[in-house]
C-alpha cells in the first residue's frame, strides 16, 4: 500500500516540475520562435517550429526604429548606475563593517529601514526633485534615481562581504604605512569580490529592466530605454507580429545571456534580494 502512495507522490512531484518548466520556458520560446515566422504562421500554427530562418523582422526593426539608440541608452544608464552604486555603497559598507564611530548604528538602521518604503510611493517627490534640478528627460537624472534605488540592498550585501574579511589584514597594512584609501581600495575591496559581484549583478539587471521610473521621468525618444520603448512597439506594431516578436526578442536577450553566463551568481543575487525583512 505505502509503495503505491510513494509511487503516486513521485509521479505527482514530477508533474509539478514539468508544469513549472513549461510555464517558465514556453512564453520565451514562443517569442523567439515567432520572431522567425511569417504573420500567417504565427496565426495558424502557434506551436510549430519556424519553417525557415526568416530574419526579416529583425532587419526591419533594427533598420527602421532607433533600436540601437534605445539599446545604448539602456546600457549607459544601467552600467553607470551599477558602477557608481558599487563604489559608493562599498565605501559605506566598508566603514560600517570595519570601524566604530558615533551614530554608527543609528545611521545604518536609517539606511536599511528605507527598504520598508516602496520606491513608487516616493514617485512625486522624486519627479519634482528631478524637475527642479532640470534633470527630467535626461539619462543623468535616471542614473541618479537608479543609484538611489539600490542603496539599502547593496549596502546590506556589501557590509556583510567586508565583515567576513579578517581585521588583521588592515592592522598589518597600517604598520606598513598604508593610507586609509589604500587599505580600502587595494586590500579590502578586491577581497570583497563576492559581495561586489552579487550586488553588481542585482543592480544591473534591476536597472536594465526598470520601467516605472523610466516611463515617468523620460518622454523624448532621445533618452528612451528599451523597456519604455516596448510600450511604443505595443502600439506601432499592432499588425505586424513578426516585427513585434523580433523587437521583444532583442529586449529579453541580454538578460538571458547574462543569466546563462553567470547563472549561480544571478541566483545568489536574487535570493539575497528576497532576504530584506
Amino acid at each position: 500500500m505505502s509503495k503505491y502512495i510513494y509511487k503516486a507522490s513521485k509521479i505527482f512531484m514530477y508533474l509539478i516540475l514539468i508544469f513549472t518548466i513549461i510555464i517558465s520556458i514556453f512564453p520565451v520560446l514562443w517569442v523567439f520562435m515567432s520572431a522567425f515566422k511569417t504573420n500567417a504562421q504565427i496565426f495558424n500554427d502557434p506551436f510549430s517550429l519556424p519553417e525557415s530562418f526568416n530574419i526579416s523582422g529583425f532587419q526591419y526593426v533594427l533598420g527602421n526604429y532607433n533600436f540601437g539608440l534605445y539599446l545604448k541608452n539602456s546600457l549607459i544608464v544601467s552600467l553607470i548606475s551599477t558602477i557608481v552604486s558599487v563604489v559608493i555603497y562599498s565605501m559605506a559598507g566598508y566603514v560600517f563593517a570595519k570601524f566604530d564611530f558615533p551614530f554608527k548604528n543609528m545611521l545604518y538602521s536609517l539606511f536599511i529601514i528605507t527598504l520598508l518604503v516602496p520606491a513608487q510611493a516616493k514617485a512625486q517627490p522624486i519627479f519634482s526633485l528631478l524637475t527642479n534640478l532640470k534633470l527630467t528627460n535626461s539619462l543623468t537624472g535616471l542614473t541618479f534615481v537608479y543609484v538611489s534605488l539600490g542603496m539599502a540592498m547593496s549596502m546590506f550585501i556589501l557590509r556583510n562581504a567586508f565583515e567576513s574579511i579578517p581585521d588583521e589584514l588592515n592592522e598589518a597594512a597600517s604598520i606598513e604605512g598604508a593610507s586609509f584609501w589604500q587599505k580600502f581600495w587595494k586590500i579590502n575591496f578586491p577581497l570583497a569580490k563576492n559581495g561586489v559581484v552579487t550586488s553588481g549583478i542585482l543592480m544591473f539587471l534591476t536597472n536594465w529592466n526598470e520601467y516605472f521610473f523610466a516611463s515617468l521621468l523620460t518622454s523624448s525618444e532621445k533618452v528612451r530605454t528599451l523597456p519604455v520603448a516596448l510600450q511604443f512597439f505595443n502600439e506601432s506594431f499592432s499588425y505586424d507580429y513578426t516585427q513585434l516578436f523580433s523587437a521583444l526578442s532583442i529586449v529579453i536577450l541580454p538578460g538571458i545571456i547574462i543569466y546563462t553566463v553567470a547563472q549561480d551568481r544571478v541566483q545568489q543575487s536574487f535570493a539575497s534580494s528576497g532576504v530584506k525583512g
Partner: protein, 295 residues
C-alpha cells in the same frame, strides 16, 4: 562601542570615515528622507506643484474613499495579497521542498524557473498581452485544441482581465523557492536523521521539523510577495491599463495618474497608503510567523 578600537583610530580616520559615508548620506537625504517627509506632509494638503501646498486635512483621503477606482484598487490589493501569500508563496514552497529531494532534473528546473524573473517586467507584460490575445494568443490556441469554438477576449472583458493580470505573476515564485531552499539546506541533516531513526514519517518530518524551521524564510517570502503586489505596475499598465472599467486598477496606477494630472496631494496620499499597507503587512506577518522568536 569597542573602546580599544576607537583609541587606535586617528583623528584623520574619522575624516575618512565620514568622507566614505558622504555619498550614501546624500542619496539618503535627497532620495529618501526628503521624499518620505514630503509624502507624509503633503498627503494632507492640496498641491498642484506650482503654488505652495495648502493644508486641507483629510480631504485627499475622503476624496479617495469616495472614488470607485480607489475601492476597486483596494479590493484588488487585498485579493492579490491573499493570492500572493497563499498560492504564490505556497507554490514556491512546494517547489523548494521538491527540489530539496534532488529528483532527476532538479537543477534544470531551478535554472529555468528563474527565466521569468530575469526578463524585464515590461517585456513579460507585453508577452502576456499577446499570449492572451484572442486571435493569435497561445492561451486560446491551447484551449481551442479541445474546444474549437472557444472565444474569450481575456484582457478586455470582466472578470477575465483580473485573472489574466493575476496569471502574469501567480506561479512565478522562483525567489520564494530560492530563499526557502537555502533555509531547508541549512537545517542540520543530523536532526532529520535522528527523527528518521525515531521512526518519524516523511510528513512528520516536513510538518514538525522542516516547515517550522524554515518559517522565517517563508515569512520573508510572504512579506516580499505582498510588497510586490503593492507596487505592481507594468504588468497592468502594459496589458489592461486598469480596465475594463476599473477592473484591474491599483494604487500605483492611481498615483501615476494623479501626478500626470498635477494632483500632487492626492498622489502622495496614495503613496502614504502604500507605505502604511507595507508596514502593517510586515508587522502582521512578523507576528503570525513568530519571526523574531526562536522555537
Amino acid at each position: 562601542m569597542n573602546l580599544k578600537k576607537v583609541s587606535k583610530l586617528k583623528r584623520n580616520d574619522f575624516k575618512w570615515i565620514y568622507l566614505f559615508l558622504l555619498p550614501s548620506i546624500l542619496v539618503f537625504v535627497l532620495f529618501n528622507l526628503i521624499p518620505i517627509v514630503t509624502v507624509g506632509v503633503t498627503a494632507f494638503t492640496e498641491w498642484n506643484g506650482f503654488a505652495l501646498p495648502s493644508f486641507n486635512g483629510l480631504e485627499n483621503f475622503t476624496n479617495l474613499f469616495a472614488n470607485r477606482a480607489f475601492w476597486v484598487s483596494t479590493k484588488n490589493l487585498l485579493l492579490w495579497s491573499f493570492l500572493a501569500a497563499v498560492v504564490h508563496v505556497g507554490f514556491g514552497v512546494i517547489i523548494a521542498f521538491i527540489l530539496y529531494e534532488k529528483p532527476a532534473g532538479w537543477k534544470f528546473t531551478r535554472s529555468v524557473f528563474m527565466i521569468p524573473n530575469i526578463i524585464s517586467g515590461a517585456a513579460w507584460a507585453v508577452i502576456f498581452r499577446f499570449m492572451f490575445d484572442n486571435r493569435m494568443g497561445l492561451f486560446n490556441g491551447i484551449v481551442r485544441i479541445f474546444n474549437p469554438n472557444f472565444d474569450v477576449q481575456w484582457l478586455t472583458v470582466s472578470p477575465y482581465a483580473f485573472w489574466s493580470v493575476t496569471l502574469t505573476w501567480l506561479f512565478f515564485a522562483v525567489i520564494v523557492t530560492l530563499i526557502v531552499l537555502n533555509e531547508l539546506l541549512a537545517i542540520p541533516s543530523s536532526l532529520i536523521e535522528a527523527a528518521e531513526i525515531d521512526g518519524a514519517t516523511k510528513w512528520q518530518i516536513i510538518f514538525k521539523i522542516q516547515l517550522p524551521m524554515s518559517r522565517k524564510a517563508i515569512g520573508t517570502s510572504v512579506i516580499a510577495s505582498i510588497t510586490a503586489r503593492v507596487t505592481m505596475y507594468e504588468a497592468i499598465a502594459l496589458t489592461t491599463n486598469g480596465g475594463p472599467g476599473y477592473d484591474t486598477m491599483n494604487l500605483p496606477l492611481m498615483l501615476v495618474d494623479s501626478i500626470t494630472n498635477l494632483k500632487y496631494g492626492t498622489a502622495n496620499a496614495v503613496g502614504l497608503l502604500m507605505i502604511v499597507y507595507g508596514i502593517v503587512t510586515l508587522l502582521v506577518v512578523n507576528k503570525l510567523f513568530k519571526m523574531n522568536e526562536e522555537l
